[in-house]
Symmetry: C2
Subunit: 255 residues, 2 copies
């Protein structure tokens, strides 16, 4: 992509994973509610994603948006996710359409579908279980944060259908740096390594799609999220697998 790429929530965890992997590959415009913790070579906009005017300025001239900004807490209260996540997403989609942006990658979450696990755990976290979610299922949020992420997906569907915006919703798993979560089977099954995260969002910038819901996890032996759409449509080719690490987070001998 030749045009600039807007990254909202650039200072958050997912933003840092993306910047760690592909910071040099694009003409970035970073946006966050907080000023940058460290100096950056790229344009940095300090603004809230519910600020309509600021968002309109921020999307001007960009080719793609990676929209991560929002309240990231699974336990966030309703009023916060209503404003920051639902209203924030609508503000970004609407501004993107008006500015002629081509693509929006929306950071959705495993919490949009967390209640599929309820009657199936702990078996669902283990390799002998072949239950698989593929993105075509209706949301079953585990919390109001998950409700807000599902609403962001539905907003994306509308802006695609109505305004032909390309939208990919990435239901992000458990993003941790260096190694998978320890003593947490669920987190290991939905582990997303930093480099796979950066690569996946690079594919969201580069690939051609209409509207997609994909799962954002590494290619873990244990998984209940299908990577089929991410691989087929986006060309996602993950490098990591939580099974290549011991439960102490050390790489296995053969990894």
């Amino acid at each position: 992509m030749d045009e600039p790429v807007l990254l909202t929530g650039a200072e958050g965890r997912v933003g840092r994973a993306i910047r760690g992997g592909i910071a040099e590959d694009y003409d970035w415009r970073f946006l966050d509610r907080e000023p940058p913790a460290e100096e950056t070579d790229h344009e940095f906009v300090v603004a809230d994603v519910t600020d309509d005017e600021a968002v309109r300025d921020a999307v001007e001239g960009v080719g793609a948006v990676i929209h991560l900004a929002g309240d990231p807490r699974p336990e966030a209260p309703w009023n916060s996710v209503l404003q920051n996540n639902i209203d924030g997403a609508q503000t970004v989609y609407e501004a993107a359409v008006d500015a002629g942006v081509e693509k929006v990658a929306f950071a959705s979450s495993n919490h949009a579908v967390g209640h599929y696990e309820t009657e199936r755990k702990p078996d669902i976290y283990r390799t002998q279980d072949d239950y698989l979610l593929d993105g075509s299922e209706l949301p079953r949020p585990s919390n109001l944060y998950g409700v807000s992420k599902a609403a962001g997906e539905t907003l994306g569907r509308y802006y695609h259908d109505e305004h032909d915006l390309s939208v990919v919703c990435v239901r992000i798993g458990n993003l941790t740096k260096g190694h998978p979560p320890i003593d947490y089977e669920r987190g290991q099954a939905m582990w997303l390594s930093y480099r796979d995260c950066a690569h996946l969002f690079e594919r969201c910038i580069e690939a051609d799609y209409g509207y997609e819901i994909v799962y954002g996890i590494s290619d873990n032996d244990r998984k209940y999220y299908s990577l089929e759409r991410a691989k087929d449509v986006l060309g996602y080719s993950p490098s990591d697998n939580s099974a290549d690490f011991t439960n102490q987070g050390e790489p296995k001998d053969d990894a």
Copy 2:
């Protein structure tokens, strides 16, 4: 049901259809933002569904809620549906759970799935087409109002999964009094007569269910919404069929 039933949006079109059919069958508590246009024998609460305290008072002691209140305009602006429809639904579900209410019937809309029609019209409105939506499909809203209704469905899924509230979401078609819409194939395919509307919501009060998405239309010859779940789970048994009327709205000889 022996306990009172709360009907929000009691003065709106759907509220009037329900009251016209089953007003005498329940100990109703009506709620609307506007005072009643005509005198009623039932308790009437004038309140906004985004008013947390008023809603908590209104659900106290009720066995079931039929939640219709919200901005009903397909062209309603985002800020209105965000507050009145999305925040309003959350306020009602949350209060219902806290008060120990057993069931909530949520008025969703055909606009939650309107964009399934886009590449298929006008064939989808005609009897020779067998394309059918059944409620298991992801939303494809035709407008921001439809987005808000889909969000209300997802909120219901969460409150069911997390708090064991029984929730049925009724994707209401085209409700008109007396006869189907004239010169409007789409409206004829998704016609809901007043008596079928009242009967359907009576089933929502009486039937046993966990979480359901059903379509609220009469048993029209032309239809692209399945009535299977409504019939099987709720015991819905519609009386009307738009094909029994001429396109001038007159009953056919054999109807």
